[in-house]
């Protein structure tokens, strides 16, 4: 379980080390990878720390909100631009691990682990997040939805690093919410959902729904969200939506829950999420 540890100061240096070191893995906060190493579920030849790579830090509120992949969750929670524009993302941070974990874990790390229950994923999916990836050849952008390939699997090519998460600006009557359930407060989500609607004259003109821990990847519920568009957020619509979601997910049974209960919870949480959006914009709760 011995491995080398590199602390590059620039992205170029990090990418060079990765290219030169077979079996190396990038690590940011380490709150997931270090656990895997401790349990001997991962045995990298080397770790390349991204904590000191200047290009990966910071939050930049430009045309799009650019969140450096190594921004910690604590930093993210304290960022007014995130709180103002993307409240569901903030809400997903509150039950995320513990304070100690949030002080270490990074947004990029949470996404790159590609856990089906990754807390930050459903809100970012409903905000149409794009991730910026870079290797020695250059940078590319990709919709977050495409980034997730399977449990623990992403679209990252060998030697490629996620550099930033990009969020489009918000306009109009856009409302979003994040809800999750877990066995206890500090636990991987049993089910999480994020919902976003854009309302015009009482009718939904754009809808995004996403759920965590109910499929091999954090899942955008495209078919289900289609039912919202053009409808008011009335009880009948909400009921239809919360029932329809069951067809779009494929939960498993594990130590946290059965597949059955996950299916049930997804419907309940979607209903509650939409009821909340109907009542007040941009409000989320635990």
């Amino acid at each position: 379980m011995s491995y080398d540890y590199h602390r590059p100061r620039s992205l170029a240096e990090a990418l060079d080390i990765a290219a030169a070191t077979p079996g190396a893995r990038f690590v940011a906060g380490g709150t997931d990878l270090m656990v895997q190493i401790h349990k001997r579920a991962a045995a990298p030849a080397a770790l390349i720390s991204l904590r000191h790579v200047a290009e990966l830090g910071g939050i930049d509120n430009g045309a799009r909100l650019r969140i450096g992949s190594s921004v910690t969750l604590t930093e993210l929670q304290a960022e007014p631009a995130v709180a103002a524009g993307y409240p569901a993302l903030i809400d997903s941070m509150r039950p995320f691990g513990s304070r100690q974990i949030r002080n270490m874990a990074t947004l990029g790390g949470n996404l790159c682990n590609a856990s089906p229950g990754a807390d930050a994923a459903p809100p970012l999916l409903v905000y149409d997040a794009v991730v910026e990836l870079r290797d020695r050849a250059g940078a590319r952008e990709m919709a977050l939805e495409e980034f997730f390939v399977g449990p623990g699997e992403t679209a990252l090519a060998p030697g490629e690093v996620m550099t930033a998460i990009l969020l489009p600006p918000r306009a109009g009557d856009v409302r979003s919410v994040y809800l999750r359930k877990a066995r206890v407060k500090m636990d991987v989500a049993t089910v999480s959902v994020a919902a976003l609607v854009e309302m015009e004259e009482g009718s939904c003109v754009r809808a995004r729904l996403a759920a965590g821990a109910v499929a091999p990847v954090p899942k955008r519920l495209r078919d289900t969200e289609g039912l919202l568009v053009g409808s008011p957020l009335d009880d009948a619509t909400i009921a239809r939506v919360s029932t329809a979601a069951a067809d779009e997910i494929s939960p498993i049974t594990d130590v946290r829950s059965t597949a059955d209960y996950r299916r049930h919870l997804t419907g309940v949480l979607l209903r509650r999420a939409l009821e909340r959006l109907r009542a007040a914009p941009g409000e989320g709760v635990l």
């Binding site: 011995s2 080398d4 540890y5 270090m34 656990v35 720390s49 304070r99």
Partner: protein, 160 residues
């Protein structure tokens, strides 16, 4: 691979050559002999290994020791002067029964110190939320919460 890691530990400079794959917890305990910080799970869930790195609470069991290079690390041993009085947080825990078996205690204390540095007057709910990552099997947390609240009062009366 070995490397020299230098940091401030409880106000003193230390420089140690370490295997780079070690965690800060390993090095604190096995190399530096600071046994106050405990391993309760090794996976960041229980918080017994909580220390402050540059004043932020982290779980030292998941903290690569190399990342401590150039930082200032505070453990439970750094909260009081040798031979001197315990810190207000420790004093409150003693008075209000915030420790039982004591194994979670150093981590619980460090999480409490970090909370009070950020929020000197926390509500019960804020205390409970801040300590979510510190498991205790003995106390049911009631006397821990009372201790943190009492520490807050004590520190507001007598600012350090």
């Amino acid at each position: 691979m070995r490397e020299e890691v230098a940091f401030r530990l409880n106000g003193h400079d230390v420089a140690v050559e370490v295997d780079v794959h070690r965690t800060l917890l390993d090095v604190l305990r096995d190399v530096l002999g600071e046994m106050g910080t405990k391993e309760g799970c090794g996976e960041g869930e229980c918080g017994a290994c909580t220390v402050l790195v540059d004043d932020a609470a982290v779980v030292s069991c998941l903290y690569p020791v190399c990342e401590a290079d150039g930082t200032s690390v505070t453990t439970v041993e750094g909260l009081f002067e040798p031979g001197g009085e315990l810190s207000p947080v420790q004093t409150a825990y003693l008075e209000f029964g915030g420790t039982q078996c004591g194994f979670c205690t150093p981590g619980m204390i460090m999480a409490s110190v970090a909370l009070l540095a950020e929020n000197p007057d926390p509500s019960e709910e804020e205390i409970r939320y801040a300590l979510t990552g510190n498991l205790c099997r003995c106390t049911g947390y009631v006397q821990i919460v009372e201790s943190v609240r009492a520490a807050a009062e004590l520190m507001m009366e007598r600012p350090a």
